[in-house]
Symmetry: D2
Subunit: 426 residues, 4 copies
């Protein structure tokens, strides 16, 4: 991925983007390298997509929003792909039924790779041409790159869900290794009341949902220095956490009973009473020092109630990132593929390791306007009945996450790489 | 309901409460007076309850939380009722399955009336006794009275839903009469940016979810002077409102298609192309001047997007009530049983006529703590995946509603008496 | 119901039918006498109907197929009833949704009684008129009378299902009393191989599905002298009957697990380990001598496999009725409202006490043709995916049942009054 | 498949079986040859299985019932496969959830091929050893071979269903070519009344469900000389066949409406009004001369009612095969992969081309006993709520079908290769 030696010292924005494009595309392929065509084709639930579909959809994104729109005479790779790999853009047209993505044994993985290569060539050509030297194109390429990065994490999430349904418990990568040392003690970090500015200030890339920057008033609050660990969560379980309705939201209690929840997703109690967890590196004992992961909003909320605390709002969380030093956590590049214990006392892991559920519903900021055109469906139309998560996980590329980044999932989702930290009103 | 002449000029808090208790109980019975035992027994969907169940449950509330807790030696009317009429209080114990409330042909309506009389006598006795002169009891009676008032509206909501399933289109009461005059022009009311205090300040009764009072920062905004009318909503429909996905949240568009929505709940297009609406007074033509009603959050949100506006947050809405004159609308006592057109230009109907969807998710205020004990399940455990509605409707008792009152329903609910007004970021 | 003394000794067919009509209608009303309007209005599952609906539907049957068709100038009681009380006759027109029959709080029970009276008068008038002296009319009245009798049993079945959902366990009638004496020993009755004639021979009333009479060849077989008792069924349960997949049809095993079946419908294991059963006379201990009742086809089949036997075919069963003496059992008129133990050794209870599952699918006999017109939908269109039951139950009127009568239910139905007897291939 | 010249003239039963085993296994692999690993891994509905699963399950059958039972010291290929590839044999143990067979990206297709090779070697060794010279082993190998042949057809059925969900409409094999000539005129073949012997007489292989041979009495009947063609079925469609409830069984009419059926499965009306059909050779125009295929029992029954006829019982059908000359149709070996038009007048296609729905429920013959042990679950436990089909299809190996063969499917199944012929009572 390094720049070849003959590269001139200064490069244009188009050239820089093109290089970044190639690097991100290569990273996606590296993420999929350990997988067979069969692994890439299956879909374990409606909410998850086959890896092959991710590979094609992120390609379709560049083809549809950039090449078809900005490259005169561009020939689509295959007409049928317009429908097959359109996720949810009604402004573009019809979509293959989401629940049936796993039935697409054709196009084959080989053909999807050919599709990727075709679009890679076409996009490189566009960026190398005068037509590519266009801020609108640059902005869309930037968006497409971030979109591809998001799907790198989704690929790992969805694959883990698939593999977990297989009693053979396939290993994606042996790389993951457990810790050993205990987690540092959790401390409460205090924040003053007052007006804060929240949201992206416009420098560098951000999704539309991160703005407009606006003011909020925060009453005094305290935030935990690090996420809740597996060891702490086991104490909640041992205290009957999953069996006491008074700790749960009403809908959460329904979810516990309907789903038969007794532990985080992917945990299993072994005959000796110990808990193991299925990871991308296979099944292994639960490490008490690691941030707990694969937790629904309901479980995070119930734990917080049990602990006499609450979850932070997204504004509190963002303020904590803005107003102090903090140790970053693990990102995709570490190839750890699992949350790691915090390394030292003090504010840690706000970024990386696990997405953190907040107490905030995913709603537009004051004055929010989605991007115009079909690409405006990226974020805005999902602003209801979901909760905001912040900070990225071990599967998020390090240069993809930032303080203002707003991720979102429904309250019962457990297959994302989700954990949480506590807050309290001072 | 008038005070008998021998009543002393000054009455104790217990006496006043007792009088208010009797008045509210009598109002509930007046609401049910036009109904047969059969009308009172049926349940048209899981979310709605039979009228008889409402009559018994609101009685159970007084029996369980006050008489059983505070009247030594109190004998419950019937042990089985503890389960049958417990709505959702896990802290009290088991509950009859919600979806099967309509199968309770026993106890009969007559027996439920006897149950009511028994509890009425018992509560009057308690309040007349020294044991009743207890702030904890007073607080719970106050809560029970408000609870009974809430159920007066629920009775009408649920009954309307039931009657609407019957092709005979039964008339609950002939009293409802349409308007005739056009609605006053909608105006935009402007509000300055700044910190506001939101939530109940502690004087008089409020539910726990209305507090604690706290500060928020509001960016400048404008609010419509009155709710959106049926006439305005018909323009949205005529412009393809229900057929254009770009106007809808993704989950809203799913709801439109799954439900086959083409108009507000209870509307029907007649062979001549005109729209009629089923009301508690029977079917009649849609009056364009009335606030549109039986609208889901999704429809309100889609209309706002179509209109280039948005829904107000609950804090904006509450600020508008606090910071200006406004004409109140229609309440239960008017016995109109249907929203009425605004009567004059200017800020109107913030209270009364239709509950107004806000853009705010139903979440706890900073520092919120539910009441302790099982009664704490009243509001707090529902604080997820619902949206806040404000202001009360034509079916809300006038003395039950206030500026800080937070009602809440899921985003697809259409059987409550729900409408909305527009807002925009200045 | 007896003929008044002034009645002439000879009466016409019309007069006799008219008298029988009144008697059967009166019996239906007697069956409903212990019930409140509320009891009559509720519907506990889609397959069961409210008592009020039965009262109206059996009236609609006479109105639609006889009065509207054969009484010139007949005025329907209410146009809306054509749809509300049409069960499934597509040849007549639209139907109120089956699952929503319990929401019809209007028409009230009083109005349904008025409807009944109106049709009673009209039908009596027709039969007293020259127009009523018509074999086509007589045939339809006879059909309508049998239809009404069938619904007498359905009313009790559906009501029992409804009452069983109510934790108050309402008592329909105190009349039911248990037995005490043990059941007579079961004997095997042997039958020779050979050709038999099966089906109705045309004398007296029969449904269309009982013919044409035709020949079958029966290999030698043996039939149990009486139905399987509760005591015998408890032995099956004690031997792990509900926990051993090898005893069950595949679909039956699915039903066991999906339904959590551990005993016949309405049975409950008490804290002391004994079994009780909910009856129309309330809950009481299971009497081991009684025929087991509320058994699905799957349970009957599994018991038979466990017992090293099988269920009889309907032709074997019918042959047994034709070729030997047998003691009849209990019918509706006994008002026992529950199966009774067999009274003596020898062939018993082929008719009465419990419907007996056969090993025969409900299919047309060779040469079967349904009655012409919409009334032909009575039986023929249900000839698929159901099993034949024979012999009637304690809730069947004695003059309604006969050797050729073919009842039918799906394999998982447990709310009818169903039991079984064993057979084996010699 | 012919014997090589060096083969000795006499071979043992074990040798003959071993040769036949290898030939059938090779045929299965030939059936799968055109497919990618991705094609082999997907599952398009719970009732259908991935090709890879079929390949493994038919192998598991030999491993479990023969090698594990009869080869001392046999080492299973992989313990986990015992569960993964057990279809429904409770007597063997647990099963991987049927609906999740398509999620088994591991074992890979390559590994399943290795599994097949391992079992092939082991079985050849067993048959070549003295232990293999055992009638019990021979019987089970014969059963396993027939089982494998059955799955050859299931592979094509399930694959066709999968490919049909893909808008790319993949082509399995180009070999299929349409006809051109019209179908011969349908004639009625008459049969005398009397006692017939039905069922397998014990010579050669038959499934347990084909016996015991027993007597039935058949009233006089007539049978169509050939199956109903697409052209004839289009006449039914043109006459409103799918829109007239009076032609349908009640459950069939429900299926029509629930499924939106307007034509046989895989048919589509093109913009020009003509009908096309998706085949294993891709989409092509409907050939009016071909037997109609992918028809549910309900559709066959409705067509027969429309035509003033009925479906034959299985005994009538079997009698027709026994009592006259008939031209066989197309089998798997023809590699046509689609039904072919009848070639000449007279009784035709009783065997081959399309499975024929009969009017008989799938129930045990008098005296039926399933094979003992877990292998007895093969057929017997499915004897309820299904209908019998007879005669095999274009996808059935020619030496797999016979006059007594009883296939069975639920009444709404459309993905098997199902058609029908008419009968009538004389």
């Amino acid at each position: 991925m390094g720049a070849p030696s003959a590269e001139p010292t200064v490069c244009t924005h188009s050239q820089a983007l093109s290089r970044r494009y190639r690097a991100v595309r290569a990273r996606t392929e590296a993420v999929c390298a350990p997988l067979s065509a069969e692994d890439c084709a299956a879909q374990s639930m409606t909410e998850a997509s086959p890896v092959k579909w991710h590979l094609a959809h992120t390609t379709w994104f560049f083809e549809t929003f950039i090449l078809e729109a900005h490259q005169p005479g561009f020939q689509a790779y295959a007409d049928a792909f317009r429908v097959l790999f359109n996720s949810y853009y009604n402004g573009i047209g019809e979509q293959h039924p989401r629940a049936s993505r796993g039935l697409l044994t054709r196009p084959s993985l080989d053909e999807v790779q050919a599709y990727r290569a075709y679009v890679d060539r076409s996009l490189s050509n566009l960026l190398a041409s005068p037509m590519g030297d266009n801020p609108a194109v640059h902005k869309l390429v930037e968006l497409g790159i971030n979109h591809a990065q998001q799907h790198q994490e989704l690929i790992l999430m969805d694959l883990k869900h698939l593999f977990a349904t297989n009693s053979l418990e396939p290993v994606y990568s042996e790389a993951t290794v457990g810790g050993g040392q205990p987690a540092p003690t959790m401390e409460w970090l205090a924040f003053e009341p007052g007006v804060r500015h929240i949201g992206h200030n416009g420098g560098g890339f951000a999704y539309d949902n991160e703005g407009p920057r606006h003011r909020v008033f925060l009453e005094p609050f305290e935030l935990a220095s690090r996420p809740v660990t597996c060891g702490e969560f086991k104490a909640f379980m041992a205290d009957g956490g999953y069996a006491r309705p008074e700790l749960w939201l009403d809908a959460g209690w329904d979810a516990v009973r309907a789903g038969g929840w007794e532990a985080p997703q992917y945990w299993r109690q072994e005959p000796n009473g110990e808990w193991s967890v299925f990871t991308l590196g296979g099944r292994r004992p639960v490490d008490p020092a690691e941030p707990v992961c694969h937790i629904s909003y309901f479980e995070a909320d119930a734990y917080a109630r049990w602990a006499g605390a609450r979850l932070p709002t997204e504004e509190e969380w963002e303020t904590a990132v803005n107003e102090g030093e903090h140790h970053p956590g693990t990102f995709l590049e570490a190839e750890r593929l699992h949350p790691a214990p915090a390394q030292a006392p003090g504010s840690a892991q706000l970024l990386g390791d696990v997405w953190e559920w907040t107490a905030s519903a995913y709603l537009p900021y004051p004055g929010f306007r989605p991007a115009s055109g079909a690409v405006g469906e990226y974020n805005g139309k999902f602003m209801v009945d979901q909760m905001v998560l912040r900070g990225g996980s071990f599967a998020t590329p390090a240069d993809h996450i930032r303080a203002t980044y707003r991720n979102f999932f429904p309250t019962d989702a457990r297959w994302p790489f989700t954990g949480f930290r506590l807050a309290r009103t001072a």
